[in-house]
Subunit: 97 residues, 2 copies
């Protein structure tokens, strides 16, 4: 009797953790960031010049290698996670446990 003895790693590739940082382009108004900056001042924090708000995603995915994972997540960003008209994004990829 032959059964599938391949481990998940063999069938799906290595597991990677991608961290995606999405922020508004510098020229785009950021009322949430401005509100946070004001609130920090009200709480007594001095020296705050500016706050910009954004979004953060952790994507766990299987891929054959790090380059493939990075390319895939980059496409996810441009197609879904970020709005390229008003936002920029950056990402890091590392092997996950």
């Amino acid at each position: 009797m032959t059964t599938d003895t391949q481990s998940p790693t063999t069938t799906k590739g290595q597991r990677y953790l991608a961290r995606v940082f999405v922020s508004l382009k510098p020229t785009v108004n950021d009322p949430e960031g401005a509100t946070v900056a004001n609130a920090l001042g009200s709480l007594g924090f001095e020296g705050v010049e500016r706050v910009r708000s954004g979004r953060y995603f952790e994507v766990t995915l299987f891929a054959s290698d790090e380059h493939t994972a990075s390319t895939s997540v980059d496409q996810m960003c441009s197609r879904l996670l970020a709005n390229p008209v008003i936002e920029t994004y950056s990402l890091t990829v590392e092997e996950a446990d």
Copy 2:
């Protein structure tokens, strides 16, 4: 006539850029992340195991040194930027131009 000739750097300290990453604790439900993961599957991205959503802030502030800036931003996180009951946060601080 003596005027204030001190530069902003001298009076306010050095400018630092802090990046703050706020994410939900692992045990907390994340419907936004689950929705994004489903949407990625619908778009044809294979191998996505999990997506966790969070928030990202860039705080520009003046401080006398990097340690002071880091301590200050850490307090901002615990008092305003993150909800310590359901969220965790991490931060990096670097000198800004």
